[in-house]
């Protein structure tokens, strides 16, 4: 079922990671992603993996659950790996076997590198969304982008749009599930036939989904107006974030790992 997609979902439990300031978490994730791209050998990945292990043990969300979220991305990962092998140089990996001569040592090494990088990337960002509710995430984004206001960038509006979009993902997934079931009950078949047939089979799902999405948008706009929403100007916050000891500890761990990765790159 669609409901079982765990990628990007928020898991509401109480843990060290959940209690971190979302602004700090966002910054740390950013640093982590940058660090991953600075890694130049497998030792660097070991540092990153160690960091993920720490995050996993301090978040009460097991790596098993997170790895399950990788499933839908297996194809993309394999695809990337394949092309890395295809365009890699170096010596053939199997010199005796003629038809496998396109597999070269450097290609395989690059591919392995890429796979590890992508997986670590997804794991790290997954932990951000697993431990931070969408509302907190966009809140943090709004705060961090505030300087852009000088350039008349609509920071608040963007954050509000993101909040709404994220808020409605589960609702729309539910809705899609229901519509799929209702059409299945009338004998709709989504699983057999060629690509054109399958694309056509989506019409009975997409049309009702669009209709209800528009309905919802209108209702939401009305509800917001009824509560006197008029954009970001003069709007105060209910929750004011402040950095605590946890945030500094987390930052410390991140900075140390970052430094370690840079050292490994230099030497």
């Amino acid at each position: 079922m669609l409901k079982d997609i765990t990628l990007g979902q928020y898991f509401p439990v109480k843990s060290f990671m959940h209690a971190l300031d979302p602004r700090m978490k966002l910054l740390l994730t950013l640093l982590y992603v940058v660090a991953l791209f600075l890694v130049s050998d497998f030792w660097g990945f070991l540092v990153a993996a160690f960091l993920i292990g720490l995050v996993a043990s301090f978040s009460k969300i097991s790596l098993k659950v997170v790895f399950r979220g990788l499933k839908p991305l297996v194809f993309i990962i394999m695809f990337t790996a394949f092309f890395n092998v295809l365009y890699g140089g170096g010596e053939p990996l199997f010199p005796q076997i003629e038809w496998l001569s396109w597999i070269k040592t450097d290609g395989v090494k690059n591919a392995a590198f890429m796979i590890i990088r992508i997986i670590l990337l997804i794991l790290g960002t997954s932990y951000l969304t697993y431990t931070t509710s969408p509302v907190m995430l966009t809140d943090a984004l709004e705060r961090l982008m505030r300087p852009l206001k000088i350039f008349r960038f609509p920071v608040h509006e963007l954050a509000m749009m993101m909040t709404i979009a994220l808020r409605f993902i589960p609702t729309l997934i539910d809705e899609t599930d229901k519509i799929i079931n209702a059409q299945k009950a009338r004998g709709a078949d989504f699983e057999t036939g060629n690509i054109i047939r399958r694309a056509k089979a989506l019409i009975p799902i997409l049309i009702p989904l669009l209709v209800s999405a528009f309905h919802r948008a209108e209702e939401l706009a009305d509800a917001m107006e009824c509560r006197c929403y008029h954009g970001g100007a003069g709007r105060t916050r209910y929750k004011i974030y402040s950095l605590g000891w946890r945030d500094w500890v987390a930052l410390g761990a991140m900075v140390l790992s970052f430094a370690a990765i840079i050292m490994l790159r230099i030497y």
Partner: protein, 288 residues
């Protein structure tokens, strides 16, 4: 017709969201029976019925339709089951998508691979059952009123001519007139075609007016499955589950407790009126 053995279903198995939807359900629904399925929001009613036409796969347990084990058969057979067991979901008007009402009702029969004439016959028949007039056939379903949309959606399932028709809250969100109309139509359909009907509702009044037997769901379990009077005899238990017997039935229970010789099987105001008139006539005789 429908039989379940230790049927259980859990949602989101293996995640922190794991919940029990239904647990250890054992039932037997006979052919031609009109069953009211009643229970609170979240009692597992909708989950239960979604198993009867293979939309949901049980976490454990078995379902037999017409004596055949649903999940031991191959996929084609299960798709056939969807035509034998017609399921009308909650707010079915949300599933309408075609350009015209005719095409939307014909969607199911078309999926069955029937001939044009047969599809035409079925659409006409289903429209008659739900009380739609010919004039809406070429209209877009999105231009109709809420009540009419609902009827189109129900007709879309009736056009499958299923042996079992299951309706999940078909009257939810309709005004009292629309509600009586829809429920009346379903009752007529049941009587005319002799098919098995399951009506999911949380209104005892609606269920008692229409069904032969009641299936009471509570916290994912099937608490009772018996004839309407038998279930109402256990009014105290029902109350503990947050359910109620129809008010008029309560009045007659109370009357009998006070010593009046009235029947306990009064579920509607009309029946109540008849019973009181009878009592008054007899009472008049006694005093004379």
């Amino acid at each position: 017709m429908i039989k379940t053995e230790h049927l259980s279903h859990f949602y989101s198995v293996g995640t922190p969201f794991e919940t029990v939807a239904i647990e250890d359900i054992n039932l037997h629904i006979k052919k031609g029976e009109y069953v009211g399925v009643i229970g609170h929001t979240g009692s597992g009613k909708s989950t239960l019925i979604a198993h009867f036409n293979a939309i949901l796969k049980p976490t454990s347990g078995k379902i037999f339709i017409d004596g055949k084990d649903l999940w031991s058969e191959d996929k084609k057979q299960r798709i056939q089951t969807r035509f034998d067991v017609g399921l009308v979901f909650q707010y079915p008007e949300h599933q309408l998508f075609e350009e015209t009402v005719y095409k939307d009702i014909a969607f199911g029969p078309k999926n069955m691979g029937l001939s044009e004439e047969e599809i035409h016959r079925r659409v006409e028949k289903a429209m008659r059952f739900v009380g739609l007039s010919e004039s809406v056939l070429e209209k877009s379903p999105f231009d109709l009123s809420g009540g009419q949309k609902r009827r189109v959606a129900i007709a879309g399932v009736m056009a499958l001519e299923p042996k079992v028709l299951i309706l999940d809250e078909p009257a939810a969100g309709l005004d009292p007139m629309g509600r009586d109309e829809i429920l009346g139509r379903i009752r007529e359909y049941h009587q005319e075609t002799g098919s098995t009907v399951l009506l999911v509702s949380h209104s005892m009044e609606d269920v008692s007016k229409n069904a032969d037997s009641i299936l009471v769901m509570n916290r994912g379990r099937c608490q009772m499955h018996a004839s309407v009077p038998e279930v109402f005899e256990r009014a105290d238990e029902l109350e503990k589950m947050g359910l109620d017997v129809p008010r008029i039935t309560r009045v007659f229970f109370a009357l009998q407790d006070k010593g009046y010789p009235v029947s306990r099987n009064v579920f509607t105001v009309e029946q109540g009126k008849a019973e009181i008139t009878r009592l008054l006539k007899e009472g008049g005789k006694n005093h004379a």
